[in-house]
């Protein structure tokens, strides 16, 4: 490194030269140190201001002399993204998956929920799958997300935002009855499963610790739902899903019947069914006698109480990303006689993963009246009108009756008065004293006073 071309000739000169060369060495060392320090701090500042640190491979030496450079190599250790109970403190990233189809009318509500989530937005990557939509779902989502990403408030900004479009050629209508009719269930659930798998496989990244599935038609949910569910540190966890109802239907009702525990009856039933058959919950055709998460709700119960599940519903699922990495997915075929989210729960249990529901932690699904409900409502309206009509008629009748009764009374009084008059006249006739005209006038006066007094008393 340094030139070796000097030899001490005398102690003084040697000392001087040595100190001189030491100075030079120190100068060179200082320059090197400064350069190193400069590059080091630069590297640090760039990595701390961004997520680049995740991708460190020793190849990250960004050069300021070019517009930008390409990074083609990414390195990730999956043991760093296992998911823990307090992910927000450990910068754990969540992939939020939202399957959509003709959902434009629900989107404003959904985005207000999204903005309100308390989990740090920069740790949330949001992926939408828009399939077979006739309305402007994808346009709306794009505009709404761009608005959020350009929000002046930095805390609003999410991580990666993907809007994925894929049409599967679904033929089932999206209204409540077509969606929930028994005959359509198996085919519909398999299509839904495909859509979910396409969404997940396109959006899951090696840096995700958690995956959160959320339907757009959730009306009310706590803003802290991600933290609340995460704290349980389970492989798969779901809240209880209910829906509000009009008062004439009881005020509220369990909505999601796909979260259940397996029963002997259902297992025996499964044995008897064809390989491709799909058991769906909540239909009289398959009486499974399973304990449902929804029915176990106690409004004043401890929201942290857990219940082991075998099948789960898809309205709001928080799962560790490793669940999906190990291959658990939403079967688009009959897996142990189940498909989609119920099959997902089943498959997870098959791989010895924990599947848990919270019976007393409730989120509320939007109430969309079914055609039956609408019919029922019309019927009720008709009945109500008919009842009102009948009520009115009854009142009318009563009034008339009363009027009639009132008339007879006065008539009777009048008759009575007349009779009394006649009686009095008879007496008077019998007495037969003074002038006839004077006496007549007196009698009429008395009758009038009598009947008037009676009328007053009656009213």
């Amino acid at each position: 490194m340094s030139p070796h071309g000097y030899m001490p000739r005398n102690p003084a000169a040697s000392y001087r030269r040595r100190s001189q060369s030491l100075m030079r060495l120190a100068a060179v060392a200082a320059i090197i140190l400064l350069i190193l320090l400069y590059s080091f701090t630069r590297g640090r500042s760039s990595s701390s201001s961004s997520a680049v640190s995740i991708f460190s491979l020793g190849l990250l030496g960004a050069s300021p002399h070019h517009d930008f450079q390409l990074e083609t190599v990414r390195y990730y250790d999956l043991s760093n993204v296992q998911g823990t109970a307090r992910g927000w403190e450990r910068e754990e990233r969540i992939l939020m998956c939202v399957p959509l189809r003709d959902a434009e009318i629900h989107l404003p509500m959904f985005f207000s929920h999204l903005r309100n989530l308390t989990y740090p937005h920069r740790l949330l990557d949001v992926a939408f799958l828009v399939s077979d939509s006739k309305d402007d779902t994808s346009g709306f989502v794009t505009r709404a997300m761009e608005e959020i990403q350009n929000d002046p408030d930095e805390r609003m900004h999410f991580g990666e935002v993907s809007i994925i479009e894929k049409d599967f050629g679904q033929t089932v209508n999206q209204d409540f009855v077509s969606r929930h009719g028994f005959a359509a269930q198996a085919g519909r659930r398999k299509l839904m499963a495909r859509a979910r798998n396409w969404l997940l496989s396109a959006a899951l990244r090696p840096y995700h610790s958690w995956v959160y599935w959320r339907d757009v038609d959730v009306e009310t949910a706590p803003f802290t739902i991600l933290e609340d569910l995460m704290r349980h540190n389970k492989d798969i966890i779901v809240p209880n899903v209910w829906r509000p109802l009009p008062d004439w239907l009881g005020g509220e009702q369990p909505y999601d019947l796909n979260s259940w525990q397996e029963s002997e009856t259902a297992l025996a039933l499964a044995e008897t069914l064809d390989e491709d058959a799909v058991i769906v919950e909540g239909y009289a055709e398959y009486a499974t006698y399973r304990p449902h998460l929804a029915y176990l709700r106690d409004p004043s119960g401890d929201p942290d109480v857990e219940m082991e599940l075998d099948g789960v519903g898809g309205v709001s699922i928080l799962a560790k990303a490793k669940v999906f990495r190990y291959g658990v997915h939403f079967p688009a075929f009959s897996f142990e006689r189940h498909a989609e989210t119920e099959g997902f729960g089943k498959m997870a249990r098959r791989m010895n993963l924990s599947v848990v529901g919270l019976p007393h932690y409730t989120i509320w699904h939007l109430y969309e009246p079914s055609v039956d409900d609408i019919k029922h409502m019309e019927q009720m309206k008709r009945e109500q009108l008919a009842q009102e009509q009948a009520e009115k008629e009854r009142a009318e009748k009563a009034r008339k009756l009363k009027e009639n009764f009132g008339d007879t009374t006065s008539q009777w009084e009048r008759d009575k008065a007349n009779l009394q008059n006649i009686a009095a006249q008879a007496k008077q006739d019998a007495a037969a004293a003074a002038g006839a005209a004077e006496r007549d006038a007196q009698g009429v006066e008395k009758v009038m006073a009598d009947s008037g007094g009676k009328k007053e008393a009656k009213t």
Binding site: R24, S46, D77, K166, A202, P206, K322
Partner: protein, 379 residues
């Protein structure tokens, strides 16, 4: 930078010290520059993702030092436009080559570099266990990757490369620690294949992304394939297709190099196997190639015709019920539909064999090419 001190001292310094100092500074600057990747063509740069939070099948723009990273853009992907056809080259379809790796094999890497499919359309994905051997293999792999991606001409550089380390407990994962004989013992098969299935799924579902058309599974011990492997397999336009995996060895009888069948997981089902499976408990697995379990399945390994044999057609197809993972080309749609490598007994099958079964349940059929050979490393 330290100018006052430096200037005062350097004025007195002799020319040798000055030269050495300047040379050192230049050397350091050069070293700093050369450690970053060289430039790519504008076309490749334009196609890159704008943000590090992006599909790993795409390279991304490195942010300039000191600048604050903007929030990631809203990105739309239309999967209706991702084609998977028999002419991948003309349609510029993206290929994802996935390799679970326990040991680094130079011959494997060299063979990969020889693939004639445009490298700018190929993404490589690796998953390595967190064992001592895995660390070693990772280092070797990273060295080769750095060389290819930074020093080779642009046409040799791959679109992007993803290296994953497994999250599995290494003690439960006998793959890396066992020799060939121990690895193939029947008793170890279920745990080994189950761990392997998890590794494959982890690799697949972390890297697939929204633009991949085909997934090519290539084992780290496959050391010889035709350079046109991707085009040749895609040409058949099958959802799942696999060539025949052989092994070269020194035949001590004939005193010449010879080849023998290697992968026995490519098979056509038999009544015997179905009968065996029907009598099994739900957790039992039916493995191929063990005397303890004579399945009498038709193995593709034995269907290969000799060179020069009459009627030998390189592109002859046979339908398969079970497949191996040595070299396996899958349309990305099959995986997207949910076909994965079961880590649990699925119809008494596991890993790649279970994959073929699950794909079939989803309506996707597998075929094999008995006469189209790839070669496995001989330990």
């Amino acid at each position: 930078m330290a100018r006052p001190l430096g200037a005062v001292r350097l004025r007195k310094a002799n020319s040798v010290t000055l030269t050495v100092g300047v040379a050192l500074v230049l050397f350091i600057l050069f070293f700093l520059m050369s450690s970053s990747t060289p430039d790519f063509s504008p076309a490749r740069k334009a196609a890159a993702a704008l943000h590090p939070l992006s599909p790993p099948t795409s390279p991304f723009r490195k942010s300039a030092a000191g600048t604050k990273l903007k929030p990631p853009p809203v990105t739309r992907y239309n999967l209706n436009n991702v084609t998977t056809t028999s002419r991948p080259l003309e349609n510029r379809e993206n290929i994802l080559i996935l390799t679970p790796m326990a040991r680094f094999n130079q011959a494997y890497w060299d063979n990969l570099l020889r693939l004639s499919y445009p490298h700018e359309l190929i993404t490589l994905g690796f998953i390595l266990p967190r064992t001592k051997e895995g660390n070693l293999a990772t280092r070797e792999l990273q060295t080769r990757i750095a060389k290819t991606q930074t020093q080779s001409p642009e046409r040799d550089r791959f679109k992007s490369i993803i290296i994953l380390r497994e999250d599995l407990d290494p003690s439960l994962y006998p793959l890396a620690t066992q020799d060939e004989h121990e690895r193939h013992k029947l008793a170890n098969q279920k745990a080994r294949r189950s761990a392997m299935a998890k590794a494959r799924n982890s690799l697949l579902f972390s890297t697939l992304g929204p633009s991949t058309s085909w997934v090519l599974w290539l084992d780290a011990d496959v050391v010889e394939t035709p350079p046109t492997l991707i085009q040749d397999l895609a040409q058949h336009d099958k959802p799942i297709i696999t060539p025949n995996c052989f092994q070269r060895y020194y035949n001590s009888k004939t005193k010449t190099m010879d080849e023998r069948p290697y992968d026995f997981n490519n098979w056509i089902d038999s009544d015997t196997a179905r009968e065996l499976a029907s009598k099994m408990g739900p957790e039992e697995v039916l493995f191929e190639g063990y005397a303890e379990m004579a399945t009498l399945r038709t193995l593709m390994a034995y269907l290969a015709k000799e060179d020069g044999e009459e009627g030998r057609d390189l592109h002859e197809e046979v339908p398969l019920d079970g497949v191996g993972g040595a070299a396996l080309m899958v349309k990305a749609d099959v995986h997207r539909d949910g076909a994965m490598f079961p880590a649990f007994p699925f119809y008494h099958l596991i890993e790649t064999e279970g994959f073929a079964r699950m794909a079939k349940r989803l309506g996707w059929e597998a075929v094999g090419l008995p006469n189209y050979k790839v070669y496995h490393y001989n330990e």
